[in-house]
Symmetry: C2
Subunit: 241 residues, 2 copies
C-alpha cells in the first residue's frame, strides 16, 4: 500500500547526525509497524469468528505473505518507475535546453523572480546558471520539476528491508496462535504483546520522523487497536449472519 | 502501509492539465489497486487451504476492515504529523532568522553558490532574499529544508478516499466467494476478475504517475498475481503440515 505523504528526511539538515542510520531504521520501522497492524487485526477478527487457531495461523501466514510481497515488490517497482520517470524527464530537459532555449531561459528567470529578486539580478543569475549546460539541466530538474536523482540501489535495499520487516512484524501478533489452541485465549496474549510492540515501534518511528515520540507512539498503538477492534466486530457480525 | 517513494505531481508542470483531477484520481487508484492486491491474495491463499467459502468471506472482510483502517487512519495521522512537523520547523526558522541571522545569511548564500552563481551575485541575491522576513523564511523552508506547506484538508480527504477505495477494491476479489460455495471454483472467477481490474487500474495509475501505461499495467498485475500465487502456495504448505 502506498501513501504518498512523505517527510523528506534527506533535506532536514537540522537532523544531519541521524541520517546514515535513519534510512535503514526507517524502512525497518515502517515495515514492522505495518506488519504488526494488519496481521494483528486479521487474527483478532478471526478470533471472534472461528473455533480453531489452525485456520487463523493459515490466514495470518497468507496475509503476511501477500502483504510483504505487495509492500516489498510494490516498493521495488515504484523505485524503478521513479528512476524511469527521472531519466525520461532528464532527456526532455536536455532536449528543451538545446531546442527551446528561449523558453527555458524564461522559466529560469521566473524561478529567480519567484524568490523575490530584482529584475536586474534575475537576468544576471539566469545568465550564470545557463552557462554550464549540465549544471543548468540539473538545476531545472531540481527546482522546476522538483525531482532529485533517485538512487537505484537504495530502492532495492529499501524494498527488501520493508518486506522482511513486515514478515517479522507480522509473526509477532500471530505467534500466540501457534501455541494456544483456543482463539480467544491466544488473542489475549496477542493483544498485550502486539500493543506493546506497536508502542515501542511507534516511539522509534516518531523519533525518525522528528515528532514527539510519546504522542507518536500513542497514535500508532491507537491505529492498531482500532483496526483490531473493528475487524473483530465486523467478523463477529458476519459470522452471526 | 507507507512506502516513501513519491513522484511529486505538483511540480510537474509538463502535465499541468491533469493536476486538478489527478490528486483525487491518484487516491482512488492507490487505494483500489492495493485493496485489490492484498484481500485477493489472502482469499486465494485460503482457497487452497479450506473447504468452505464462509471462512474466506469472514477473513476477507476482516482484512478489508483492518487494511482500510490502517491505510486511511494511518494516512490521516501521517498528514497531521507532517503538518506538526512543518509548523515546528517554521517556528524554528523564524527564530533562527531573528537570532542567528548571520548563520542564516550564510546558508542562503550557500544555496546560491550551489546553483553556480558568482561570488558577487551570491551576495546580492542573498541580500535581496533577506529583505522580506516572511518571504525569506518561506524560501528557507522550501529550499533549505525541502518542505512545502501541507494542505490539512487535503490529508483528511485523501485518507478518506484511499480508505474507501481500499474497501471497494477489496470487495471485488471477494465477491465471487459470496455466491459460490466451493473455494476453488470461486477462486477461478476471482482470479479472472481481479487480474482484469488490476490491469485496468495499473493502466490508470501509470497515466497519473506519468510512466508508460502498458508497462505499468503489467507491473501492477504481476504484483497481484505473484502475491496471490505465493499466498496460495504457502497456505497450502502450512495446511498440509
Amino acid at each position: 500500500m502506498t501513501i504518498s505523504i512523505t517527510i523528506n528526511l534527506d533535506n532536514l539538515h537540522h537532523h544531519e547526525e541521524h541520517l546514515t542510520s535513519s534510512a535503514f531504521l526507517r524502512d525497518i520501522v515502517i515495515g514492522m509497524s505495518d506488519g504488526l497492524t494488519v496481521p494483528f487485526a486479521l487474527a483478532a477478527g478471526l478470533s471472534g469468528a472461528v473455533n480453531s487457531t489452525g485456520i487463523i495461523v493459515i490466514a495470518g501466514i497468507a496475509e503476511i505473505c501477500a502483504g510483504s510481497i505487495a509492500m516489498g515488490l510494490g516498493g521495488y517497482l515504484a523505485g524503478k518507475t521513479e528512476q524511469d520517470h527521472y531519466n525520461s524527464e532528464l532527456k526532455r530537459e536536455y532536449y528543451e535546453v538545446d531546442h527551446l532555449r528561449h523558453r527555458e531561459l524564461e522559466e529560469t528567470k521566473e524561478f529567480f523572480a519567484n524568490l523575490g529578486l530584482s529584475e536586474e539580478l534575475q537576468q544576471q543569475a539566469t545568465e550564470e546558471v545557463a552557462k554550464d549546460k549540465d549544471k543548468w539541466v540539473e538545476f531545472m530538474m531540481k527546482y522546476e520539476l522538483g525531482l532529485d536523482q533517485p538512487d537505484p540501489k537504495r530502492a532495492t535495499k529499501s524494498a527488501f528491508n520493508i518486506g522482511a520487516s513486515y514478515v517479522v512484524g507480522g509473526l509477532i501478533p500471530l505467534s500466540p496462535y501457534f501455541f494456544i489452541k483456543t482463539p480467544l485465549a491466544a488473542l489475549e496474549i496477542s493483544v498485550v504483546v502486539t500493543l506493546l510492540c506497536l508502542f515501542v515501534f511507534g516511539f522509534f518511528k516518531s523519533k525518525v520522523t522528528g515528532v514527539n515520540p510519546w504522542w507518536g507512539a500513542l497514535r500508532v498503538t491507537l491505529i492498531g487497536a482500532m483496526a483490531a477492534a473493528a475487524a473483530f466486530g465486523v467478523a463477529k457480525f458476519f459470522e452471526a449472519h
